[in-house]
């Protein structure tokens, strides 16, 4: 078992982070935070491992990043979405360290927020705007096409600009909203990183699925690239699918991007 698991003991059946291949990428340590109510932490860790990196579990209550090179704030229902999705988690001890490191003037920490993680990042104001209930007011799980609008961020550099990918989307509070000025700035500065294609599944402004901060080290998105990292277990596995049987690993590029970027840096 990788040494990195010792940071805190995750109660598991089985092991999601077997030893990673011995190469440069394996030296990249990517922290994955667990809050009470986090659901997709094991999946995010698996995605890091499949991309070639080393996942490091981080515990919400510990103000310590354990020397990780990047952080993923995974999806789920932290604190049961009570008060407001992401609002309580944003105040966790570990998040104060994430915010500090993400805003460092030199070598700012790459941070990815997925779904509830995106909500948490907006609550910490690392990213602007916020998420409200889907316009149809129901939980929705679907295979969603996204356009990579900006491939200059830490988390999208392995994609082509304008490339379309299909990853699962699953949420209840996924409607991205921001005031007109913020939207204008996001568009003008090319900070809309992912945009919904074909179907806007929740009423998000400007079909926005994911955005970045000014420097491109912090990215948040509602859909789940960590659920599209292995053929057979991604979008091709279900639904009245239009994704081919051997597809389903489009999300892996998000995780290889940050590893390659950090190794190259």
């Amino acid at each position: 078992m990788a040494e990195s698991l010792a940071a805190h003991e995750v109660p598991l059946v089985g092991d999601f982070s077997q030893d990673t291949p011995d190469n440069a990428l394996a030296g990249v340590r990517v922290g994955v935070i667990t809050f009470p109510g986090t659901l997709d932490d094991r999946d995010a860790s698996r995605a890091v491992r499949l991309a070639g990196g080393t996942p490091v579990p981080l515990w919400h209550d510990e103000a310590n990043l354990h020397d990780v090179d990047a952080v993923i704030v995974p999806g789920g229902f932290s604190y049961g979405d009570y008060l407001r999705a992401g609002a309580i988690a944003a105040k966790a001890a570990v998040m104060s360290k994430v915010v500090e490191a993400a805003q460092a003037s030199e070598n700012p920490l790459p941070v990815l927020g997925i779904c509830n993680g995106f909500q948490i990042l907006t609550e910490t104001h690392l990213l602007p705007g916020s998420m409200i209930k889907n316009d149809h007011r129901k939980f929705i799980c679907r295979d969603q096409t996204l356009r990579i609008e900006n491939n200059q961020t830490f988390w999208t550099s392995d994609f082509e600009a304008g490339q379309d990918i299909v990853v699962p989307l699953k949420n209840q509070d996924g409607q991205y909203v921001a005031d007109a000025k913020t939207l204008e700035v996001l568009e003008a500065e090319n900070r809309v990183v992912f945009r919904y294609v074909d179907v806007n599944p929740n009423g998000s402004r400007n079909d926005i699925a994911g955005i970045s901060n000014e420097r491109g080290n912090v990215v948040g998105l509602m859909p789940h690239p960590e659920h599209a990292v292995e053929p057979c277990f991604g979008p091709s596995s279900s639904g009245f699918g239009t994704v081919g049987l051997r597809g389903g690993a489009d999300g892996l590029g998000v995780f290889t991007s940050v590893l390659n970027k950090l190794v190259g840096a």
């Binding site: 109510g37 149809h136 929705i140 679907r142 659920h227 596995s237 279900s238």
Partner: protein
């Protein structure tokens, strides 16, 4: 607290006041049962004891009407069937060895009545309850499934019940991080005012992590942890008012429990950490009958006794009486037995996860379950008499007088069999049929469930089974299907139950998994009605005989009786959940052909007889009568074996079971799975089977599967079918160019039009969500 809130009915007081009137009838006990309680105790029960016996001896907890029949599940088994069974019937859930040191536990339960009263919370706590059963075995829950049955789709009350149930299943399961990988949805007016909400959960563990519910080791601590105890779910709360002094206390409490999935998610992780550190000796979830059930079951499964101080229970509502505390069904609670040496470690884990707990008492050598309240003994019983020695009834049953008439009312020749469409009409008819409530796509529902979380879902709806990876290194995993055909079961309960079993077996094999274990949820009307009791007895006999023939053991399940409104029972609904094992889930076979399968040959395995009675076409035309299709379990077993081998050896790339809606539905669903068309010619096979094209398309004969075979594999495929002597016929070819299902000489059905018809029905009735 110095002020006494109620007259405490102590054991001493009960012995001294034998003639005190007790509300046993209001609590649901029959007079003979109350007399039995007095005989067991040698005195009248205290109010608290009465509460315990009444809930534990209820139909729901004691299986008093059903257990004489359920015994067959334990009797009709061979040693061969038991070889992989690690924990059998009687524990919270059965456990099956799937190899490589892995074990799987799964169980299906009902939450029918609460879901009618309060659809959202009823369905949500149904998921919560079954998941806690799985945790209690020491397993990490990895998936859920929900077979749901509602009244007529256009009945106003269905518009209240269905969206609430679906939101409840999703709201709870999604928040727990459990993929929902399948189930069933049926609409039938027999479920009006009595919807069926069944919930299945499956969990995985290493062999050494299996836990059971027993309290052993004198001096070990008994600890209640999780949510606080409140007044929710106390069915008979009002009758316990006789205990109360105080008129100002809250009296009307909800009889339906309220769920908090966040608390349960934390409880799951916290329990897994307890198991991992071997911190608990025994564990039991709190479900029906709450603390009454947990204490009496833990104590009677152990080797000694138990003493509990009820004043130590952490309460949400401080006005609760001891009887109410014992009966409360507040959710998200667990009870553990912990050695004094492990107590510190236990406390650390509780603190890490911010879970509240209190040490209620300890395991004793007395052989008795004693409960005290403010220093006085209010319960002193032999725990086995509460948990296991409830009453047993041999309810009278008899074949209903109307059964012959029902069976004589064949579809063929009935007024419903008025027009058998052919040619272009057939195309239109198939489109309309595939939009009917029971044939339409259920994606409106399943798209409100998370099917991806945990990253191990290899298949889910609309495929024949849900498939979950267990071992990431080898790809070892399980497939699960739930099936019931209540219409067949009404026509012939014995054969109908067997047909439901056969379908579940076939669905598991169709995705490529070897069926290994069964759990069942038996939903029936009132056991006091001899007609219903006959249906029940016949269905149980059918499942037990069928399991023996298929060589697959029943590992547990649940019985739900009294499903009837106004004297009219539901169609007998035995839901069979089948679990299968796959060595490598990446070899799973989906239910339709993909673009890369263009040009592959489509084969139909099995033969079609004139079996339209009880079919979906008959329902579509408003008819229910006749005899269900013949069940040949030896053939099903052979077919299953072939499908598993074909999948493993790469002989087939798609396979879809032919069941509800017949071959017509199987072909449509096969095309729509990936939006890829097909050309079929049915003349030859119709001639072989001696039926017309219409019958070939809509009959629901069992033992049939449509498969897509790569050209390079056709010889091997045919050789295998020939060698096994299983009927097969080439019926067509995958046609990725056409965007149509073309039935030669009859109709060309455009896939876009088909999809629109098939997908649109639920949204039209219950409102648009985002397109699927």
């Amino acid at each position: 607290m110095s002020e006494k809130k109620f007259n405490l009915d102590t054991v001493e007081h009960a012995a001294a006041t034998p003639d005190t009137e007790l509300p046993w009838a209001e609590l649901g006990l029959k007079e003979n049962e109350f007399e039995d309680v007095k005989k067991i105790l040698g005195r009248r029960p205290t109010a608290a004891e009465l509460a315990m016996y009444s809930v534990m001896w209820s139909e729901h907890c004691s299986y008093k009407s059903s257990k004489v029949h359920l015994k067959q599940f334990g009797a009709k088994v061979t040693d061969e069937m038991k070889k992989d069974l690690m924990v059998g019937i009687g524990e919270n859930a059965g456990v099956t060895n799937i190899g490589n040191g892995w074990a799987v536990t799964f169980k299906i339960e009902s939450h029918n009545h609460p879901s009618y009263v309060e659809p959202y919370q009823g369905a949500a706590t149904g998921v919560g309850g079954i998941v806690r059963d799985i945790i209690s075995m020491g397993a990490r829950p990895v998936a859920v499934m929900d077979p749901l049955r509602f009244g007529a789709i256009d009945h106003p009350d269905t518009a209240r019940v269905l969206p609430g149930v679906v939101s409840g299943v999703g709201g709870y399961g999604n928040s727990l991080g459990l993929p929902n990988i399948g189930g069933e949805v049926e609409f039938d007016e027999c479920y009006q005012a009595n919807p069926l909400v069944n919930a299945l959960a499956v969990g995985i563990m290493r062999h050494e992590d299996i836990r059971t519910a027993n309290a052993s080791g004198t001096g070990n601590k008994v600890i209640l942890f999780g949510a606080r105890t409140g007044g929710d779910g106390i069915g008979g709360a009002s009758v316990l008012a006789s205990e109360s002094f105080d008129d100002t206390k809250p009296s009307k409490r909800p009889a339906v429990q309220v769920g908090d999935p966040f608390a349960e998610k934390v409880l799951i992780e916290c329990c897994l950490e307890l198991f991992k550190g071997s911190v608990v000796e025994g564990i039991q979830d709190l479900g029906a009958a709450g603390i009454s059930c947990a204490t009496s079951e833990l104590a009677s499964n152990g080797d000694g006794g138990m003493h509990v101080d009820l004043t130590k229970v952490l309460l949400r509502d401080p006005t609760l009486t001891p009887g109410e505390i014992l009966m409360s069904e507040s959710q998200e609670r667990m009870m553990a037995v912990v050695t004094p040496a492990n107590l510190n470690r236990f406390e650390e884990i509780m603190e890490k996860w911010d879970v509240e707990y209190s040490v209620l008492g300890e395991v004793t050598g007395s052989g008795r379950l004693t409960i005290e309240w403010e220093g006085e003994i209010i319960v002193d019983v032999d725990p086995k008499t509460v948990a296991h020695d409830g009453p047993t009834y041999e309810r009278p049953y008899a074949r209903p007088a109307w059964q012959d008439e029902l069976q004589a009312d064949k579809f063929i020749g009935s007024s419903a069999d008025d027009a058998r469409p052919t040619g272009a009409e057939l195309g239109e008819a198939i489109k309309a049929f595939m939009a009917a409530p029971n044939m339409c796509s259920k994606s409106w529902i399943t798209n409100q469930y998370d099917r991806y979380v945990q990253g191990n879902t290899a298949l889910s709806m609309p495929d024949d089974s849900g498939v979950i990876r267990v071992d990431e290194e080898t790809g070892l995993g399980v497939a699960l299907a739930t099936d019931s055909n209540p219409r067949f079961t009404r026509l012939d309960p014995y054969e109908g139950a067997k047909a439901s079993l056969a379908e579940a077996y076939r669905n598991v094999a169709t995705v490529g998994a070897r069926p290994v274990a069964v759990s069942d949820c038996l939903n029936f009307g009132s056991p006091e009605d001899p007609d219903v009791m006959w249906q029940f007895a016949e269905a149980v006999r059918g499942i037990a005989d069928g399991c023996m023939e298929l060589g697959v053991p029943v590992t547990g399940g649940n019985v739900s009786l009294y499903n009837q409104t106004g004297g009219k029972a539901i169609n007998p609904t035995p839901v069979v959940a089948m679990m299968g094992v796959m060595d490598d889930v990446t070899r799973r076979t989906p239910s339709g052909w993909a673009p890369e399968h263009d040009g592959q040959a489509l084969y139909l395995l099995g033969t079609t007889g004139d079996e339209l009675d009880g079919s979906e076409w008959a329902r579509y035309k408003g008819h229910l009568g006749g005899l269900p299709p013949k069940v040949d379990l030896a053939a099903e077993k052979l077919l299953g074996d072939m499908l598993v081998n074909m999948s493993r050896d790469g002989m087939i790339d798609a396979a879809h079971d032919v069941s509800a809606g017949g071959l017509a539905a199987a072909l449509v669903e096969g095309c729509l799975r990936f939006g890829v068309g097909a050309r079929v010619g049915l003349g030859e096979v119709a001639e072989r089977d001696g039926v017309d094209t219409f019958t070939l398309l809509f009959s629901e004969s069992l033992g049939r599967v449509v498969v897509s075979v790569p050209r390079s594999e056709e010889v091997r495929f045919k050789d295998m079918c020939t060698a096994r002597n299983y009927p097969f016929a080439r019926i067509g070819v995958v046609d990725a160019e056409s965007n149509a299902l073309a039935i030669q000489g009859e109709a060309d059905i455009d896939l876009d039009e088909l999809r629109e018809a098939h997908e649109g029905t639920l949204a039209r009735h219950f409102g648009e969500v985002a397109p699927s």
